[in-house]
Amino acid sequence: MIDIEGVSYRIGGQDILRDVSLQMGPGGVIALVGPNGAGKSTLLSLIARLNALQSGRITVNGLPVGQVADDRLARELAILPQDLTVTIRLTVRDLVGFGRYPYHKGRPSEADDALVTQALGNFDLQDLADRVLETLSGGQRQRAFVAMAYAQDTAYLLLDEPLNNLDIAASRALMARLRALAIEKGRTVVIVLHDINYAAAYADRIIALKGGMVIADGAPKQIVTEGLLRDVFETDAKVFRVDDRSVVLV
C-alpha cells in the first residue's frame, strides 16, 4: 500500500500540495485527474522520491520514502516521468534491459534476459527490439519506456501522462495492458490522466485534485458527474451514461 500522510509541498512560496492524505492499493488502476497545476505530477514525483518531501510522510509497502535505500525502493516501485528524453544511443532492448538493473546491478542473469524478452513481447516491441530509440515515433518510444518500467517488475507502477503523443489506438491498447496488469498480476498502477473519458473507462478509482487538495475520490461511476467537472475543471460539459460507463461529451 502507498500511504500518504499530511503531505504539503511548496515551490517558491506557492502551495502545490496542501496537506494531502491518501491511501492507494494494493491492486487496481488509480487515475489522478485535475486541471493543470493541480499538483498531480508533484504528488507522483514525491511518491517516487524524484523530489524530496518537505513535510508529511509517504510509505510504500511500509518503506518510508526518502529514508529507505534507493535501490530497495526501486524493487518496490517504478515511475515513468513525463517527457522523457535519453541523450545516449540506446536500442529498445537496451532500454527495457535497464528495467532489470535494480536486481542484477549490471550483471544480468538468464532469468533477467527472459523477463526483458517477455516485456518486449507484452508491449508488441519484438520487431522494434534492435531499433535505436531516436528512430522511433513518439508513440513507439513511449511504449518502450512503459515496457522498461514493466520489466522493473514492481508492485507499484506510477505513470505521468503516458498517453501524451499517443493516438487513440495506442492509447487504448496501453490502457488495456495496464488494466490487465492490475487484474492478472495484482499490481497497483497509479496514472496521471488528462482525459477524463480514459479515466472513466479504465480506472477502478479516480482521485480528483485541485489547487493541491483532494476534491473527490471514488469509483468512476460515482465520480464522473457534471457537478465534478464544474467543481474541479470549471467547465460545463454534459455527462452521459453509455454501456454503464460515464462519458463526458467534449
Partner: protein, 312 residues
C-alpha cells in the same frame, strides 16, 4: 564490439613502437629509457583526459560538455597561481614537486565540488546555460590567473609559466610517479562503478527510478574527474578540446551504452591520438607544429559541429 577494441589496441601498440624506435640513434638503452618516460606520460594523459571527459559527459547526460570546457583546467591553473602568489616562489620551489601536486589536486577537488556540484544540480536541464556558464567561468579563471601572474614577481612567474601552456613534447617527468598512482586509483574507482555509470547516463529521472541516486553518483564522479584533470594538467598543461575529440570518436566507434566497452575504447583512442600524433609531429615533421595546436584545432571543429547539429 570486442574486436574493435582489439584492433584499437593493436594500432596503439604500433604507435607506441613507432614513437620509441623511429629516428633512434646511439645507445638503445638510453633512448628507450628517455623516450619510455615520455611515452608513459603521454599514455597517462590520454587515459586521464579520455576517462575524465567520458564520465563527465555521462553524469551530465550530454555529449558536448567536457571538464575542460567547464573550466576545470583553468581552475587548476588559478589555484596553482594563487598558491605561488600566496607562498612565494622561494617557498614553493623549496617544497617537493610531488607534495605540491598533491596539494593542488586536493584543492581542485574541493573547489570543483563546491562550484560545479552546485552548478550541475541547479542548471543541468539547460545545456546552453551550462555551456555559457562554463565559458564565462573559464574566462574568469584565466583572467584572474593572468592578473595574479602579472602582479607576482617575474621569478615567481617563471615557476607557473611552464604549467600554463599545453605542451606534449615536454612532459613534467618529476611528478610522473605520483601521477601514475593517482591516475590508477581514480581509474580503478571509475572501472569499479562502470555499471552504475551506465544507469547514470540515462539522466536523473530514470536513474532515480532505477535506484541510482544521481546526486551521490555525481559527487563521486566529480571527485574522480578533478583528480584526473589535475594529473593531466600538471603533466602537459591545459588542453581544452582533446577530451571532446576523444569522446566523439569513441561514440562513433563504440555505439554501445555500456561503460565496460566505452571506457577501454576511449582510453585506446586517446592513446592513439596522443602517441601517434606526437610521433608524427616530433619525429616526422621535426616539431614544426606543436601537437596541441592540431588536437585543439580538430577538437574545436568537433565542438562547433556538435553545437550546430544540436541547433537543428
Amino acid at each position: 564490439m570486442r574486436d574493435r577494441i582489439a584492433i584499437l589496441g593493436l594500432v596503439l601498440l604500433a604507435a607506441c613502437a613507432a614513437y620509441l624506435s623511429i629516428g633512434a640513434r646511439g645507445d638503445w638503452g638510453f633512448v628507450l629509457a628517455f623516450r619510455g618516460q615520455k611515452l608513459a606520460g603521454l599514455l597517462l594523459v590520454a587515459l586521464a583526459m579520455s576517462w575524465a571527459t567520458l564520465v563527465f559527459q555521462t553524469i551530465t547526460a550530454n555529449r558536448i560538455l567536457t571538464p575542460s570546457i567547464m573550466g576545470f583546467d583553468a581552475l587548476y591553473l588559478l589555484l596553482l597561481s594563487a598558491l605561488v602568489w600566496g607562498l612565494g616562489a622561494q617557498t614553493y620551489r623549496a617544497m617537493p614537486a610531488q607534495g605540491l601536486m598533491a596539494a593542488n589536486v586536493f584543492l581542485l577537488c574541493g573547489a570543483a565540488l563546491a562550484l560545479f556540484g552546485a552548478l550541475l544540480r541547479s542548471g543541468r536541464d539547460d545545456l546552453m546555460r551550462l555551456i555559457l556558464t562554463g565559458v564565462v567561468l573559464s574566462v574568469l579563471f584565466r583572467s584572474v590567473t593572468a592578473y595574479l601572474q602579472r602582479v607576482i614577481d617575474p621569478n615567481e612567474y617563471a615557476v607557473i609559466q611552464a604549467a600554463s601552456f599545453a605542451r606534449f613534447s615536454a612532459i613534467e617527468v618529476d611528478v610522473l610517479g605520483l601521477s601514475v598512482v593517482l591516475t590508477l586509483l581514480a581509474c580503478g574507482a571509475l572501472w569499479h562503478i562502470r555499471h552504475r555509470l551506465d544507469v547514470l547516463a540515462l539522466g536523473p529521472l530514470l536513474s532515480t527510478s532505477l535506484g541510482e541516486a544521481p546526486a551521490r553518483g555525481q559527487w563521486h564522479v566529480l571527485i574522480l574527474v578533478s583528480v584526473l584533470v589535475s594529473v593531466s594538467t600538471a603533466l602537459v598543461g591545459p588542453v581544452t578540446f582533446f577530451g571532446l575529440l576523444v569522446t566523439s570518436l569513441t561514440y562513433q566507434v563504440m555505439n554501445a551504452p555500456r561503460h565496460a566497452l566505452l571506457l577501454p575504447t576511449a582510453a585506446l583512442i586517446g592513446g592513439i591520438i596522443l602517441v601517434g600524433g606526437q610521433t608524427v609531429m616530433e619525429r616526422l615533421l621535426g616539431l614544426a607544429t606543436p601537437l596541441s595546436v592540431v588536437v585543439e584545432f580538430l577538437g574545436g571543429l568537433v565542438f562547433l559541429a556538435l553545437l550546430l547539429r544540436r541547433q537543428r
